[in-house]
């Protein structure tokens, strides 16, 4: 394989990591509070706001129903507004983030809802405020679930990032399509797939490791 190709592969891997990392950070920044709110704002819950909850839920579902490749194209005007351009790797972060926020929100919501309602009751009985209950009970108790959810979100971001070649986003997916498919270079395609597999494996095992480390719900064999 030529040095040129190796450079291309390295560059593409860097671009993929860049897109995935920034979208994951932004997605968490918006998705975590959104998920928290969705999990605590139904009627009678801590931050009871049933109407806002319903509307946000609808928006989340709508965004999640749109196939990613269509979302990318549909929000081009918005992407141009935010990123200044609708073409390129940085511009691709906009649709990636928008697709990830509702996904992370639902994953966080599920993790929070898994927390035993008895704990909320115990905290209320202590005289805790809703904000204290969220900070000191719900978030720490849901941390293992949230960690696994974010891992899942990052893995799907790696997959999504391969599709943004459609709007001039670069990265591994784009390289695979242009060289591997359009220029009939199956070895490039194979290497791209292998790198993607390694990336996903890495993210998954790091995520699981962190989740296990923060999970104190069961005794671990050989622990303490």
């Amino acid at each position: 394989m030529s040095a040129n190709l190796i450079n291309l592969l390295l560059e593409a891997t860097g671009q993929t990591l860049y897109m995935v990392a920034i979208s994951a950070i932004l997605g968490t920044l918006f998705g975590l509070p959104l998920g928290l709110f969705l999990a605590t704002s139904q009627r009678g819950e801590l931050l009871s706001a049933p109407w806002v909850n319903k509307i946000l839920g609808l928006v989340v579902n709508a965004t999640r129903s749109v196939p990613f490749i269509i979302l990318v194209v549909a929000i081009i005007p918005f992407t141009r507004m935010v990123a200044g351009t609708s073409i390129g790797t940085t511009a691709a972060i906009v649709p990636l983030t928008i697709a990830t926020v509702p996904f992370i929100a639902r994953l966080v919501e599920n993790a929070i809802r898994e927390v035993d309602s008895g704990l909320i009751e115990a905290a209320r009985a202590m005289g805790a405020t809703p904000v204290q209950i969220i900070r000191k009970v719900l978030l720490p108790e849901a941390l293992p679930g949230i960690t696994l959810g974010l891992t899942l979100a990052i893995v799907s971001l790696i997959g999504y990032s391969a599709m943004v070649g459609a709007v001039g986003g670069e990265g591994l997916g784009d390289l695979g399509i242009r060289y591997g498919y359009q220029r009939f270079m199956p070895d490039v395609m194979a290497i791209v797939v292998i790198i993607l597999i390694v990336l996903v494996q890495l993210v998954q095992s790091i995520g699981e490791r962190i989740a296990t480390a923060v999970d104190k719900r069961a005794t671990k064999s050989g622990g303490q």
Partner: protein, 353 residues
């Protein structure tokens, strides 16, 4: 402990009702006209079957449930009407322990006990010694750095108790706190609650479906059935002279005095024409509990008494006995009068031919 004596607070339920709207417009009364005074510093048990409304009643004391009619007063403050910051202040005076402990799995023993102090805004420099005191009181010093998942049920409930005591409450609510524990552990947890009541003087209100729990620690008991209090009073009085059928059925489980099957099968409610035996429950209470009354019945009056089942128990430090006996019908009336005269309680259960 740094605080040697917290003054307990009294709890007053005044014609408390709780109605739920059901689908279709009907309402369900979970509680109806419940009035009960819980004396400051007492241990009071509320006993009832599941669904009787005891949990709803207990949770009104810290405002987790609100009455739809009537008032609940804790130390003179109306809990049902309190909201927001005022309600949270009342809650800091009312500790609560739970059947399933409700401990944070993400926090150590010490971390769990520190939580109510953090919530109350206690400076962290004061939290540490306070938590150490509490851990010591419940006997978990060796486990301070462990997580709840690594501990036994009894140890978890001890954390729950220490956590409930952290803010120095005047009242401790116990929601079936020993129902998930084995009998031996139950005894140690009940003993701890008794010690706390004695040492700190705080009022303990507990709900349970086990009469044994009431017998072991409660000075007073209220029996609740279908949303109403059917009987209440001093535990000893309720045990020795239960008035209501629900109370009796709870007691039959705990006193363990039941008719042997061969008698029970033959028991009839009407006396047989020809001579038969009358089956009587004799309850010995107070000073007479240890007197040999049945022996005197046979010796002094020549009435043959056949003992079918029996037990002598203690409530607090006072003994009380329960005997099931049979006597010839012809002499039974005379025998019962003799026993009643000497302060024993009798109840005719039926007849066998």
């Amino acid at each position: 402990m740094t605080d040697t004596n917290i003054q307990g607070a009294s709890i007053a339920f005044d014609r408390v009702g709780k109605a739920y709207a059901k689908a279709g417009g009907a309402t369900v009364n979970a509680l109806e006209g419940v009035s009960l005074d819980v004396a400051s510093g007492s241990i009071t048990g509320i006993i009832g079957r599941s669904g009787a409304g005891k949990s709803t009643l207990l949770r009104m004391v810290n405002g987790l449930e609100r009455p739809t009619s009537g008032n609940v007063l804790v130390g003179g403050q109306d809990v049902g009407a309190a909201k927001g910051a005022k309600l949270r202040m009342i809650r800091r005076d009312v500790g609560m322990i739970f059947q399933h402990f409700n401990l944070l799995s993400s926090r150590t023993v010490a971390g769990n006990i520190a939580l109510p102090l953090e919530v109350a805004g206690v400076p962290s420099a004061q939290i540490k010694p306070r938590v150490a005191d509490l851990i010591d009181r419940v006997g978990l010093s060796a486990q301070a750095g462990r997580y709840p998942a690594e501990l036994s049920g009894g140890q978890k409930q001890r954390i729950g108790i220490a956590r409930a005591l952290a803010t120095g409450p005047k009242v401790l609510l116990s929601d079936e706190a020993t129902s998930a524990l084995d009998p031996e552990t139950t005894q140690t947890v009940l003993a701890l609650l008794k010690d706390i009541n004695r040492d700190l003087g705080l009022t303990i209100l507990l709900i349970t479906h086990e009469m044994a729990v009431v017998r072991d620690i409660a000075s007073h008991v209220a029996v609740i059935d279908a949303g109403k209090i059917v009987e209440h009073g001093a535990t000893y009085d309720i045990f020795t002279a239960p008035q209501h059928a629900t109370t009796r059925s709870f007691l039959s489980g705990v006193t363990g005095v039941m008719l042997p099957a061969f008698v029970k099968e033959r028991l009839t409610q009407t006396a047989p024409e020809v001579d038969g035996e009358e089956v009587v429950r004799v309850t010995f209470a107070g000073a007479h509990a240890t007197d040999p009354m049945l022996a005197r019945l046979t010796q002094d009056m020549g009435i043959p008494v056949n003992i079918l089942a029996g037990a002598v128990e203690e409530i607090g430090t006072r003994p009380f006995g329960n005997l099931l006996v049979s006597m010839p019908i012809a002499q039974a009336g005379q025998a019962r009068a003799f026993l009643e005269q000497h302060g024993l309680l009798t109840e005719v259960l039926g007849y066998v031919g």
